[in-house]
Symmetry: C2
């Protein structure tokens, strides 16, 4: 099996030429993020992936995490890899130095996140949980909670989990039933949580569970949910570990993929109730958890191109090595590497184009988040906040579905060999499949996009984004280069379809939200393709400039233009049909179906 | 887990109203296939699926086939189920009564095939191998070979396998290296074969391997390949079993899906060489094997809607049961079944529409095959042969990719639960995945369609098919019913795109086949959607007639019209973009990519 190498050339190109790393490094507090430091960090991360994480990916899948006599056993090498990862400081890369982090931009953190996910998706979820919990406690925890828990979570000495879902409360958290009874300054938590990522394991001496529960007497629905920190081992005021808390992993799920990530059914309070401490205000738990979920949502969005990249590398290597069939142009009587066959080349180019478009989208979001948090100008902060909030559900929905499709194509390039687990291609499909589900399914992302991000502000943010795209289009259209003007024209068409869909959905929603909702996923895809085309067209424009100036690697830059053209030719034609499906959808999905379908 | 029920209502509707079961029953030799008999056969088959095959599907996946001490152990219940299946005479359903079969139409056999695959795909492959081998030996075997092997294969007392692939010869069989040395009247076979479905097991007392090999001194390439029958246990002239032949299963593959189907690496000739008997003429083995593969190709095409139907049934049951989130129209403050949510309904309708379109396409092919074989009129035979040959690669490629997409959506409808193996939805994706690979990948199907079925006859068959569609379109367009005239208009647009693509590909191919080949898979999909729309529109037209006449089940017929409209609204808009991608493809995939991408 081909081992993974981090695609540092492309990541560096996106960081510098698309996401604006230099602008991010000029924000207050990010001055350290010099080009040299960014390069060094990425090199080091890439090395860690190739040497430590990627080699454990297949064996981790085969062995899986196992619950034995109440203890969750990790696959070989995971505990050691986790310790190395934590010691190297990777968990705290973008966390405030006050808590032991390195305080680097989210943009850089997102770039490293992609390669952790590529190298070993199941592994990457563990530090991702720490980062999410640290983010949440840093924003909502009390002073004492921060002092006691944050440094240990950031250093990785302790692990962390997020406990939201219950059997009857998945996407609809308002239904959750976990209870919290006041007991002096603390609470006693009872109830069951499911789908808890890294819910239990022995990689760390303690695990800090963040748990949503309902305080006795709290209102029903989402307004009666509070957030608690519930350690596996109780912690003294001085940080020393005390007795085991009243909680345990009842079982681990047997899943389609990410086998090495223990997904637990957690039981709280089999005796007196698990001791928990309120985080933030009573009944405002969901507010805090949503902040954390937004963090995790980018993390999951990143899994799309991460899995795509890994699948692409394996399929590409196979296609260059495997000979089968003569060349279609008859240039040789011998079998040629299958990458010479037009359909195989088409599949590989699709995989690369999807991956590179989604990568750029995610890093764009991370840059927006950095600017939203740190830009000295109020308006710029607001504008960037609106951009990231709008693009995030698109990146999550479109990017992860694209990652799955890419992994699917990766198997297809392999033919029969792709169906054999030893090859590795099948694992990428199995692992990638979850990314379109957790942290909100594609349908949930589409509803978020349509109702919260477009309807609520009457497309103000969407129009602003379209204006950004129009600038890029105008710039490309003014180029003497024919490929660039073609890209500009295609981008303009896609934008027109996105704009028309936006207007149609706003109008339809005002009359009947269900008819708008029937087209929400198509709208998300339309957004994904249009944005993807925007990023790749900008990349092509920049590549052309650099080629003209004799800068950079010629082969890399030429390929960048090729990929943008491929995307414009092979992905962007979907835009008109997505608009048609949106407009048809109201009728075909909702009219007269109830009781008949 | 919801158990499977055979969708007899829809199958019966397609058999009678679309595929023309009455016409088939009027063909010479098929007179027995009366409506009552057809109903009885389908009822019985459905019962067998629900009671015997479906309950073994999940446990078969979990246990898998295992090679232990040189013996392939089947999952619990498989050996007994196979015996029952064989005893009931299902293997021989469409085989000549001279060999112990029932001699019923292929159309009926195809309808049963779908439900075997739905109920238990891994199981279904075993009798499918018997049918394929019987077909092959009946056409190409010597008198003695037929006498000795055929009755046992048809009765299921002996199993059969197809041995084509070698490590260096997959899609490109011309490269195969297995050797055959003449030894009196027989041959000694040596070499290794991979991906051998049911290559070894203990369900039957003997296994008859059909093996492609190269006789010493034969020409290189495809013109030097011969076909041999190689029994696991040698067989005396009186049919008694003799000693074990020099062959064995070296290992079983660990696969993404169809775990219960033992996929073996077979080794022939570890001692003196496995004894084999030439089937048909020397160096004409590939010709015979291709005849068999055409049989199997429809069998695999059927797996598309088969897996789709199973995934749909599970997802639909879940969506009706699972409550989560309030209704979007605010009609109720309580959580509603998720099927009420527009995007969930859209996904379920997509699953149903894809499945019903592909089902109709497969049964149409089977009916064409029956007419091609038995119609008293020469021209009708030729016309039907051309139809089935043209539509087969489309049904295989588009239908199986659609089955995979449907299984993917089935997981998505389940949300997080879909990722848990216990649910069963994940197995359908894992199992379905192989269907777009074996018996020729989608890319291979697309090349077959474009170069063998369209270029070779300069689109004569395609034009004839388009003329058939035009009749249906004209009939629907003349209806006073607005839905039907809309369907007619959409079908007409799709046909125009298919026609334009055909012309463009013919013209482009004449200049540069590689540029045509780059769009072959898009062309296959365009064909699939257009044909799917044709079948569903015809179904809607017939349903409207029956409703008008007060015949049939009103709810079923109304739903049929709804599904046709959904397909026209949500699948057929893809046609223009597929045409665009075909025309763009030549440039984006082939121009300037070599050495750069």
């Amino acid at each position: 099996m081909t081992e993974y190498y981090a695609p540092l050339d492309d990541i560096r190109f996106v960081l510098n030429e698309i996401a604006g790393m230099d602008e991010i490094a000029s924000l207050p507090g990010y001055e350290e993020a010099s080009p040299d430091l960014v390069d060094a960090v990425m090199e080091e991360a890439g090395k860690f992936c190739s040497e430590v994480l990627a080699p454990l990916n297949h064996s981790g899948d085969e062995q899986g995490a196992r619950l034995e006599n109440g203890v969750v056993r990790m696959p070989d090498g995971f505990t050691e890899a986790y310790a190395q990862f934590a010691q190297a400081g990777w968990i705290g890369i973008s966390i405030d130095p006050a808590w032991g982090g390195q305080g680097l931009p989210k943009l850089l953190s997102a770039a490293t996140q992609e390669i952790w996910c590529s190298a070993n998706l199941a592994f990457s979820l563990s530090p991702m949980m720490n980062q999410a919990a640290a983010d949440l406690l840093a924003s909502f925890g009390s002073g004492a909670q921060k002092e006691i828990f944050l440094p240990k979570i950031v250093s990785g000495e302790w692990a962390a989990t997020m406990n939201l879902t219950e059997p009857h409360a998945g996407s609809d958290l308002g239904c959750l039933r976990c209870k919290a009874e006041r007991d002096g300054d603390q609470f006693r938590i009872t109830g069951q949580k499911i789908f808890i990522t890294y819910g239990d394991h022995v990689m760390t001496e303690n695990i800090i569970h963040l748990v949503l529960a309902r305080i006795s007497g709290a209102p029903e629905g989402v307004g009666g949910i509070s957030l608690f920190v519930v350690p596996k081992y109780l912690v003294g005021d001085d940080g020393t570990l005390g007795q085991r808390n009243d909680l345990k992993a009842l079982s681990l799920e047997r899943k389609l993929g990410i086998h090495a990530s223990p997904t637990a059914v957690m039981s709280y309070g089999n005796g007196d109730g698990a001791i928990g401490y309120l985080v933030g205000e009573e009944n405002r738990g969901l507010h805090a958890m949503f902040a954390m979920m937004n963090f995790s949502r980018l993390g999951v969005a990143i899994q799309g191109p991460a899995m795509g990249e890994r699948a692409y590398q394996l399929a590409r290597a196979y296609a260059e090595e495997r000979t089968q069939g003569v060349a279609i142009d008859g240039t040789s009587p011998d079998a040629v590497p299958i990458i010479e066959h037009p359909d195989v080349r088409r599949m590989l180019m699709s995989m690369a184009a999807q991956t590179e478009a989604a990568r750029a989208m995610n890093l764009y979001i991370a840059a927006c988040q950095d600017k939203a948090a740190r830009h000295p100008d109020d308006e710029m902060r607001a504008a960037n906040e609106a951009r990231q909030a709008l693009v995030l559900p698109i990146a999550k929905g479109w990017g992860t579905e694209g990652g799955i499709e890419t992994a699917h194509l990766g198997i297809q390039v392999h033919g029969g060999t792709g169906f054999i687990e030893e090859t590795g291609a099948a694992q990428y499909l199995r692992d990638a499949r979850i990314s379109a589900i957790y942290e909100g399914t594609t349908g949930i992302q589409a509803n978020d996009l349509l109702f919260r991000k477009v309807v609520r502000d009457e497309a103000w943010a969407m129009n602003a984004l379209l204006a950004d795209m129009a600038s890029a289009r105008d710039e490309l259209a003014a180029s003497p280069d024919e490929t660039l003007t073609t890209l500009a024209a295609r981008l303009g068409q896609a934008m027109a379809h996105l704009d028309e869909a936006t207007h149609w959905l706003l109008g339809t929603n005002a009359q009947d939200p269900a008819r708008a909702a029937a087209g929400a996923v198509h709208y998300l895809r339309l957004g994904g393709i249009t944005l993807g085309g925007w990023f790749l067209a900008r990349a092509a424009g920049r590549a052309r400039e650099m080629l003209g100036a004799g800068e950079g690697n010629q082969a890399f830059l030429t390929r960048k233009i090729l990929i943008a053209r491929f995307f414009a030719d092979q992905f962007m034609p979907d835009c008109p049909q997505l608009l048609a499906k949106i407009m048809n959808g109201a009728g075909s999905v909702m009219d007269g179906t109830k009781g008949v379908f």
